[in-house]
């Protein structure tokens, strides 16, 4: 017999889905801003592996000469990004959901086993509650990253008025670099996230919209 198993509370589902387009807009408008001083590369021993960003990329996304527009969007949606993030964090604290989300002392070892399982090297996974160890680490890290984006963003935005924040980020140049790297991090997170969601299947995906999973109740099978 099928049973409904509650999984994701409403606030967590909504903050998740609200964050998705906001973060997309922040990354897009950030690209418009970054273009005006696109100096970052991945260079190791004098060999340039990646340039952020190649011409074809900028052309494909219509990025050039839109700095003013990018700033206008960025400084509007930063409010929504921050508010939505705070709402999520406050909710997880007061609802007790943080218990499922924060990594514990076993998580780092267990996450390794989860990784081996996902790569089809190991057959079994460690027992888990709502999230497995790898998820705990990933979903906590992404919140820390979001907070980092907010802090480094403010450090670049008001480096004189919020000089202590800029100092905390290791200076203006470092704050801009961290702000950029975190954004690259979101993109990588997104790619892995999407692959995992597809692999996890429909029941899991639906639970992030409707809040519950449908399980086969074993008791009923026996009776």
């Amino acid at each position: 017999m099928k049973v409904i198993k509650e999984k994701h509370p409403l606030v967590m589902r909504w903050t998740h889905w609200v964050n998705f387009p906001i973060l997309a807009i922040m990354i897009w408008s950030g690209l418009l801003i970054y273009w005006a001083n696109d100096v970052y590369t991945v260079t190791i021993f004098g060999h340039r592996f990646v340039k952020f960003f190649p011409d074809w990329f900028n052309k494909a996304f219509h990025i050039p000469y839109r700095l003013a527009e990018g700033m206008a969007y960025h400084f509007l949606f930063m409010w929504f990004f921050a508010l939505n993030g705070f709402l999520y964090v406050l909710y997880t604290i007061f609802s007790g959901q943080w218990r499922y989300l924060l990594p514990n002392r076993h998580s780092f070892r267990e996450a390794w086993l989860v990784l081996l399982h996902d790569l089809h090297i190991r057959k079994t996974v460690p027992p888990q509650k709502k999230y497995n160890a790898a998820q705990r680490i990933a979903y906590t890290a992404i919140i820390v990253m979001g907070f980092g984006s907010l802090v480094t963003g403010l450090a670049i935005y008001k480096p004189v008025q919020l000089y202590w924040l800029t100092w905390l980020c290791g200076g203006y140049t470092m704050a801009r670099i961290i702000h950029f790297i975190l954004t690259v991090g979101y993109v990588l997170f997104f790619i892995i996230h999407i692959v995992q969601v597809i692999l996890a299947g429909w029941n899991n995906f639906r639970s992030v919209i409707s809040g519950f999973e449908v399980k086969e109740s074993s008791e009923n099978v026996n009776s």
Binding site: I4, L162, Y163, I209, F212
Partner: protein, 258 residues
């Protein structure tokens, strides 16, 4: 008995009902969000005035954000300064708008301070250089995203106002500066213009400012992006309304404060 048979059905129905409600809400609100985005990206440009070039709602947002961040502005928040040895030898230039007038003659340059009924002061560079000199080595920040530690020297804006007894005019909310040819112009809020590190600079790296950097006198205002650091100041005026601003007319934030 009948009730018991219905039980598994109720679970199915429950699942169906909840799915319908949550997916329905998801798509309706998602659609509304997408509609809102389409509205925003397709919104009309603001009517050209002191600011121009931005879409109306985005300009409103920029102005509100400016009001919010003005609250944390303080004259006690000083920009970090560095030893002279850290200053760049080759100081970066980015724009020459307002410096291209072929008829401009450095020897004939004068700074014109304007009141409501025309000029109240006309100063040559030596009259300005006679005032106490203030030096600053700080990280100049461009709106494009680059920054460079630079060494400038000149007259502190506060000293300038005091020495030429412009306190009455300086009580107004804004200062407007323009190049002699009127091609480049900036508007500054009073608090930023009279920040203790704002200077009217005539020296760069201990040498008189060169033409590409805005000879003979330029603004160095560390609490603003480079776009507000007007080169070759021709005139200075005080007003209670926002003076025109070159980059604010191109869609940039009027405040552009750091």
């Amino acid at each position: 008995m009948k009730k018991k048979k219905k039980k598994p059905l109720t679970v199915e129905q429950k699942i169906k009902r909840r799915n319908l409600i949550s997916f329905g809400t998801f798509f309706v609100l998602g659609g509304a969000g997408f509609g809102g985005w389409k509205w925003l990206t397709g919104s009309p440009k603001e009517a050209p005035g002191v600011t121009a070039g931005a879409q109306k709602p985005l300009r409103r947002a920029l102005n509100s954000t400016e009001l919010f961040f003005k609250k944390i502005f303080s004259n006690n928040h000083l920009v970090q300064t560095y030893p002279k040895s850290r200053a760049a030898r080759r100081v970066r230039t980015n724009s020459f708008i307002g410096l291209r007038d072929p008829s401009f003659k450095l020897e004939e340059w004068r700074l014109s301070v304007l009141g409501d009924n025309g000029e109240v002061l006309s100063l040559c560079i030596d009259e300005i250089k006679a005032l106490p000199k203030t030096e600053i080595v700080y990280d100049f920040k461009c709106v494009e995203g680059w920054d460079q530690i630079q060494h400038w020297a000149g007259v502190k804006m506060l000293d300038f106002i005091q020495h030429f007894k412009l306190e009455e005019l300086a009580r107004r909310n804004y200062v407007g500066l323009e190049t002699p040819d009127g091609k480049y112009y900036v508007g500054l809020d009073r608090e930023s213009a009279f920040h203790p590190q704002t200077i009217l600079a005539y020296e760069m790296n201990d040498q008189p400012i060169t033409d590409p950097h805005g000879a003979p006198l330029r603004l160095i205002i560390p609490v603003k992006y480079g776009i507000k650091n007007l080169k070759r100041i021709g005139s200075m005026r005080f007003s209670d309304t926002r003076p025109r601003d070159y980059w604010a007319e191109q869609g940039y934030d009027y405040y552009s404060g750091l």
